[in-house]
């Protein structure tokens, strides 16, 4: 240990080695992350079954690619280090986006704040054949009850919403194929739940 601590570079090989030490640590960090996020045994087996056969040439290419990548990190580690915070932040943003609930309603589709009693009064369905229960929102009553039960915070507001046909909805911004109406639970301008009353 003492001899390692007292060692000083005396040639360009030595200086290069010292320069590459942080690169080695960064490489270990990348490899650890790669190992931690490796596909499951099941996924690997599935890929093996459906994937094409890997020839010796493919393996050689993969090996060469790995060598080049390692050399890039060892020699170009300052650039990778500068990029690392951005990469981590981007990864966090992606994970947070994935975890977001996927609602059709968006703030731009909100129409007006509504009292739940008024919403119920307006919701009764007329059916001359008498097949709809005399409950708010008819057959959708259970959904309405669940939606109301979730409005527990004093800051929660109920808003009606309307999405025109072709409006962009959800995290993936799909176009709706029909008009959509319903109610949304809104808190501090954010949509936390929705109850759709009509759609295709």
């Amino acid at each position: 240990m003492d001899s390692l601590m007292s060692w000083r570079p005396d040639s360009w090989h030595g200086y290069l080695l010292v320069y590459m030490v942080p690169g080695g640590l960064l490489l270990a960090f990348f490899l650890f992350n790669k190992w931690r996020e490796r596909p499951s045994e099941f996924a690997r087996e599935l890929v093996r079954i459906v994937g094409k056969k890997i020839s010796p040439l493919d393996r050689l290419k993969e090996f060469l690619f790995l060598c080049v990548a390692i050399a890039c990190v060892l020699l170009g580690w300052p650039a990778f280090l500068a990029w690392l915070p951005f990469g981590i932040a981007q990864d966090k943003r992606n994970k947070a986006w994935q975890a977001l609930p996927d609602f059709d309603c968006a703030p731009e589709y909100l129409v007006a704040q509504v009292n739940p009693i008024d919403a119920e009064i307006a919701s009764y369905v007329i059916d001359p054949l008498g097949t709809v229960p005399s409950l708010p929102f008819g057959h959708l009553n259970q959904g309405w009850v669940n939606f109301l039960a979730d409005m527990t915070d004093d800051r929660d507001e109920m808003w009606s919403f309307y999405i025109p046909k072709g409006g962009k909805v959800g995290k993936y911004q799909f176009e709706t194929t029909s008009e959509t109406r319903g109610y949304a639970k809104v808190r501090d301008g954010k949509i936390l739940a929705e109850f759709i009353t009509e759609r295709d």
Binding site: V125, P128, L129, T131, G138, L140, I196, R199, D200
Partner: protein
Amino acid sequence: MTAQVSERLIYGGKEISLFTNPLSLYLKATGTCFESPHTANWRGYVGTWEILEHEGVERLYLVALSAHKTYKEILSLSDVFPGQDKVFAHWFTGQLRCPQGAQLEYRHMGYGSIYEYDLLMEFKQGVLVNKHARHNEVPKKKEEKDYPSFLRRGS
């Protein structure tokens, strides 16, 4: 994805295919889901619908249902809607698509196959407000040159 078994619509005394799932909003709102019995029926049920007229107003009703609670256990309309022999689809606003005539092109995906005609019926809160037919043509076959160069088959 495999082509999906269609819903059924009793229309003009005949039972025809229906390439729309009007029950989906009801199932989502009430948190109901069924089990898929096979890859041609991912939604796990087949509903039979009928448009019934009363005093000049035509409404959409679910009149029969075959829904898989499990692979073996099949639920009927009265199991899902106790005490009902028909259900008014008051939640449905949108278009029903009923394919008619010969199949022009088979597509191995959802309701993607193309038929000679589509009978299109517009509903507002379960009430029929408009209907018309659309004539379809055989889609032009894509040739290699229609693809961008990076997607063309190698020689």
